[in-house]
Symmetry: C2
Subunit: 417 residues, 2 copies
């Protein structure tokens, strides 16, 4: 599968979709990139890639060679492993600032009927070799998926799943702190947070663990969905932590949790606070959002001149009690297919291929953070943005008596002559 300048390191690189069509459709295809690579001539594939994944100006997306222990872990534990490198120009006054960043996507490990402690611990066990592979690969900053310690049970509206919630310094944080220390690695851990100090309040929170195993801070999801089976507003409210950027040993990072990716202002605010990498740990299903998935993260990376790491969980989770979806259709017990497809987007409009739509996976990318400022210098989006005008516009808009700026055709109700 490997082409020059584009080494895809993978546990099982076969483009499943092209060989295993099910029920006359290709819904089972593994990744768009692999599907196109297997189906197109090299020449056509190259041109399609130029437009689709932004490999313009004759640049090729480069693969990186990972150490054998990482590849062995991927092979033994059957998770997708891919690694790429975003290039930046050499500068005369600054050294390159290359960091290696990892994204983990995974399915849950036990049926949702298993005892909660077993469910949680078995996810820990399942993630262990993937985190080890990241550590063995020299990953500097690693991000896990949204609410990674649990099934995404918010579709059910049952409050018993709240038991999975943990304080910021709880069991899952302690589990990851060990890896952070062992591998000198910053780890972003998105969990369901139980805020004991504020009366057992729930939040959807990302805990930022420093490379010495210390807790640097937390960020709480800013925008909560009310769409499809995403009944998250039943469980937690809009976050109260603003748009913090965490200055880590390896760069300035921020976290835009899941549904926040639909809000350009959320992306913008992290950018205004100086983020160089914004992670978007998510849980989203094919029927609802798959065509948006490759668009929103890349747009944010372009508009804000930073890198984006997008993560989506994998698989179909079946719950004990059926529930309805507010669409008049019969009750059912699953949320739909979480389609994985984790990937990186860069400020120069390029992006990596995506991880599998079906399998657990680790996506690694080297990125020279100097690229962020290089793109700001080139395109000048911050400078040309006229924020004063928009600050005023929004202040006006939020007033209850706001009147939109509308110019009506005075001949609106005249018949055509």
């Amino acid at each position: 599968m490997a082409r020059e300048g584009e080494v895809v390191v993978t546990g099982n690189g076969k483009p499943e979709g092209t060989h295993n069509p099910t029920n006359g459709s290709l819904c089972g295809f593994d990744s768009l990139h692999r599907l196109l690579q297997a189906s197109l001539s090299p020449q056509v594939f190259q041109e399609v890639s130029r437009v689709l994944i932004g490999l313009n100006c004759g640049k090729a997306l480069q693969g990186i060679s990972l150490p054998d222990p990482a590849k062995e872990l991927s092979s033994r534990h059957d998770f997708d492993l891919q690694a790429f490198c975003f290039l930046a120009d050499k500068e005369l006054l600054r050294e390159p600032r290359i960091v290696r960043v990892g994204l983990i996507q995974n399915s849950i490990a036990l049926p949702t009927t298993a005892p909660f402690q077993d469910q949680k611990r078995s996810i820990f066990q399942k993630l262990k070799p993937i985190i080890e592979a990241a550590g063995a690969s020299g990953v500097n900053i690693l991000c896990l998926q949204e609410a990674w310690t649990m099934p995404f049970a918010f579709c059910t509206r049952e409050k018993r799943w709240c038991e999975f919630a943990e304080p910021v310094d709880g069991e899952s944080t302690q589990f990851l702190q060990n890896f952070a220390r062992k591998y000198n690695m910053v780890i972003v851990s998105p969990i369901l947070e139980r805020d004991v100090k504020h009366g057992e309040t729930m939040w959807n929170t990302a805990v930022i663990i420093g490379n010495h195993g210390n807790i640097i801070g937390k960020h709480r999801k800013n925008h909560i969905p009310r769409v499809g089976d995403f009944n998250e507003s039943t469980y937690y409210m809009e976050g109260n932590t603003g748009h913090p950027v965490f200055e880590t040993a390896f760069g300035r990072i921020a976290i835009n949790v899941c549904y926040g990716r639909h809000h350009p202002l959320n992306w913008l605010a992290f950018g205004l606070n100086g983020a160089e990498i914004v992670f978007n740990p998510s849980a989203t299903v094919g029927e609802l959002s798959e065509p948006m998935w490759p668009i929103e993260a890349r747009n944010a990376a372009i508009a804000n001149s930073y890198f984006v790491g997008s993560i989506n969980r994998v698989g179909t989770e079946i719950f004990p009690n059926p529930f309805t979806s507010g669409d008049g259709k019969p009750q059912h017990a699953d949320f739909g297919h979480f389609y994985g497809s984790s990937h990186f987007s860069a400020p120069d409009a390029s992006c990596t291929p995506s991880l599998s739509r079906h399998k657990d996976g680790l996506m690694i990318s080297d990125m020279d953070l100097n690229l962020c400022r290089q793109l700001k210098d080139k395109w000048g989006f911050r400078m040309t943005a006229r924020y004063e005008m928009y600050a005023e516009m929004l202040a006006h808009y939020v007033k209850p008596d706001f009147e939109p700026q509308v110019i009506s055709d005075p001949l609106l109700h005249k018949n055509p002559s």
Copy 2:
């Protein structure tokens, strides 16, 4: 070329790129959609389309059948003609509000060395059959490309091209007013404006002509580029018309001119003022922006629950006097290839294929404007957007003494243990 549920009406539908590779590359390919359609099996093409152009949930993009006179004009004058239909759900309390919208892309007609009046008039003549085809097709709202009366001479920095500037009620507006009356058609006309009343000031302006031939108003480009050869800031300043939405006989429209598409706040402001269709008349070249082109407009349509019509001019324009590009390379006389690729994006994340990368073209789409509110009701982006927080954030950001919200790892300068 036609498939069921996807009729591409075209003057010359042959996927040029697959048959005419030049210099070992496919830079000459006609459109990504046609390239993929010609290269992939129908089954794979369908699945790729599902993810790439957002035809999710089993929906197929439907073609519409155009009257023979339109097809004959396309054939005789050799311009690309495509027509599609975006579907919306039937509602119980509102009738469908289906409008037919058209986008025109074109190259200039004479060498840039020809007398200016001849250049302008020959573009008028060239556009005539394309506008007639739109009229014959029953188009309700038609938008032309940015600065359509002239070559995109802003790369040169020569002030003599200012002679192409016209007042809002000038020659080009009069030319289009006749078609607006004849076809009961709203026409958006982006020109280089000469504002005589304000001391011969230049603006990059869209004139909105009502379906009775009246001038409804104008909008001036809000964001001016300083990138590559886009030396537009030499010619005109940031617009002073805010973010007007024009209430026309066929729907509420707004115009985001060219570089404004890189600014999510610009898209947002038109949305907050109630736009249902936002046009993005542009002039942009392959080396600079082609991988961004399919991303930004679709993201705006998704985030703001409105339709977007994207237009880019076509061809390579060669100027009399060579100029340099601020990249250290030798002087040259052209701007690069304007890659056309005009298309529509819808609020449900779907989009049409694009017009040719090389040929003049008319893209037509029927759209039920009810889809905008349907998507707002479904996704609730406006309701969940927390604009108060961002109004405050921006008011804070624009102060010269703004301090970003940064949380630093206190162990930042400790060596790994």
